[in-house]
């Protein structure tokens, strides 16, 4: 699967580029699902980086798993984690031990990329320091603005909040801090008037 084209939207909606191997003393890649393809493309175009590359990979929620292809790259360090939450302690430790000059790349779903960027910012880096390339599923990570619970892998709009049960309309309004789109109650003014859900984010 190749790079995704996005429709123009409101300014808070992130846009993504293509991973470009950059100069740096170390290279940290974090990818999920189809994002593996972007990592393979980047490292195949710049094989010299492999000796200083660390790849953290999370198979996709939709079942896509490219562990084999990533392992075949022969990078200095490869780590596979079952979920972002499971990978986070490792990511935090790598960031805490790193020096300026390390390049950070994130590829895959928007939720993954945003959480990598948030971790990098918590480590003191500017948002722009993380290169991002969207690949694969458009499923969204959504915060319910009412109960604040986050639901992962939202494909339907509206959808039911997995925490409080309200029916939420998924906005393009995106929070970098929370690494999530915002979901607002769709029938607040006319309770019970709920349009049929459509699969907006595949």
């Amino acid at each position: 699967m190749t790079k995704t084209e996005f429709e123009p939207a409101i300014p808070s909606r992130p846009v993504y580029g293509v991973l470009h191997p950059a100069v740096g003393s170390a290279h940290l890649f974090v990818a999920d699902g189809e994002g593996a393809g972007a990592v393979c493309d980047a490292l195949t175009s710049a094989p010299a980086l492999k000796a200083a590359a660390h790849v953290i990979y999370i198979p996709g929620a939709n079942g896509s798993d490219h562990t084999g292809a990533l392992q075949a790259l022969g990078v200095a360090q490869f780590h596979r984690a079952p979920s972002f939450a499971a990978a986070l302690p490792r990511l935090t430790k790598v960031l805490a031990d790193a020096h300026m000059g390390m390049q950070i790349y994130a590829a895959g779903t928007e939720g993954l990329m945003a959480q990598v960027a948030a971790a990098a910012q918590a480590a003191g880096l500017p948002y722009e320091a993380v290169q991002m390339e969207h690949r694969g599923s458009l499923a969204r990570r959504v915060q319910c603005v009412h109960c604040k619970g986050v639901t992962e892998n939202v494909t339907l709009d509206p959808f039911q909040c997995s925490h409080c049960g309200l029916t939420l309309f998924v906005r393009d309004h995106f929070s970098r801090r929370l690494a999530a789109f915002q979901g607002v109650c769709i029938d607040a003014e006319d309770p019970g008037q709920i349009p049929a859900s459509v699969e907006r984010f595949k």
Binding site: L95, M100, E128
Partner: protein, 321 residues
């Protein structure tokens, strides 16, 4: 016209000769009010009446940001300059009444940084004196690398060493000591931001070295005020106010506009902030763009000018002012 609050009426409380080239000035308010609190890296524009010529020069504040009893600046004597620093050195005495702008910060610390690496050259030390006081009060992690010509010209070295100890590193040109920048940048923990204030060449060196080592641009901060360059006299038409003025060789376009009684926006008066950006309605000739604000494309298009530092050569220039 600067934006925001009214100007600050002050009296010069103290003039101290720091070394052969630098004097420090302390200002307190004439109206008995407290000075506004500022953040480290802020500057004020000092207004001078230099025997009939109005000069307005920006200087970084170096007193402690939370000290509302007065403001301090340091001025380096520039023999080749247009005269602002010479006026401060030769004519300003304790007890004189002067006027300051409100503080404006174009060189703030990024509070999200895990560590602040401060690189100063010569008089570029001044914003860092305030920033270090602020960082010390906040418990922020920092390191200063300060390059001076000689021990005699190392302004505030003893004071800073006394306060901040091993976090202060001093390099003397006279002894061929040079900041080992590549090594310094390589060994910084992730989340470090670097700040540089000093001569043009030093600023360019830090930006270029950091970029070549993979530092994100937004983690590299610099401040360079340009003194308005002198040049040939030229005429300008101000369309909105219906005036045609002549800019003298040692006057900036902004100063000439102000002298004609036309209100024009500014903040830094040094080509850095963007506040004075003005539309060019007609340009028959060549604009000498001296600012750090406009993009190369904007400069080439000759549709915008920064009157605080830029000049013109040619048959006619009409501005929307």
């Amino acid at each position: 016209m600067s934006v925001g609050a009214p100007k600050i009426p002050v009296v010069v409380a103290e003039v101290i000769e720091v070394n052969a080239l630098i004097k420090r000035f302390r200002f307190v308010r004439r109206d008995g009010l407290a000075m506004p609190v500022f953040s480290g890296g802020a500057h004020v524009v000092v207004e001078m009446d230099d025997h009939g010529t109005r000069r307005m020069n920006p200087y970084s504040l170096m007193s402690a940001p939370g000290d509302t009893s007065g403001y301090e600046i340091s001025v380096r004597r520039d023999e080749a300059g247009r005269g602002g620093s010479l006026y401060m050195h030769n004519h300003v005495r304790a007890g004189m009444e002067m006027v300051l702008s409100q503080p404006v910060n174009l060189f703030p610390l990024d509070a999200r940084a895990k560590k602040h690496l401060l690189i100063a050259g010569g008089i570029g030390i001044t914003p860092f004196v305030a920033q270090m006081a602020q960082l010390e009060a906040m418990g922020g992690r920092f390191e200063l690398h300060y390059s001076v010509r000689s021990p005699a010209l190392g302004a505030y070295v003893d004071h800073l060493r006394g306060r901040y100890g091993a976090r202060v590193h001093v390099y003397h040109d006279a002894f061929d000591e040079k900041i080992d920048l590549a090594n310094l940048l390589k060994t910084q923990p992730l989340g470090t931001h670097v700040y540089v204030c000093g001569p043009k060449g030093m600023i360019a060196w830090v930006h270029a070295t950091a970029r070549a080592m993979g530092w994100p641009d937004r983690a590299v901060h610099s401040e360079e005020f340009l003194a308005p360059p002198v040049g040939l006299a030229f005429d300008v038409s101000l369309a909105a106010s219906g005036k045609t003025i002549t800019v003298q060789p040692n006057q900036s376009l902004l100063e000439a506009i102000e002298a004609a009684g036309v209100d024009a926006p500014y903040l830094c008066r040094g080509g850095a902030c963007g506040q004075c950006e003005t539309d060019v309605l007609r340009c028959e000739g060549h604009i000498e763009h001296n600012d750090h604000w406009l993009s190369d494309d904007q400069k080439a298009s000759h549709t915008k000018i920064m009157p605080c530092v830029s000049r013109f050569r040619g048959a006619g220039l009409v501005l929307d002012r």
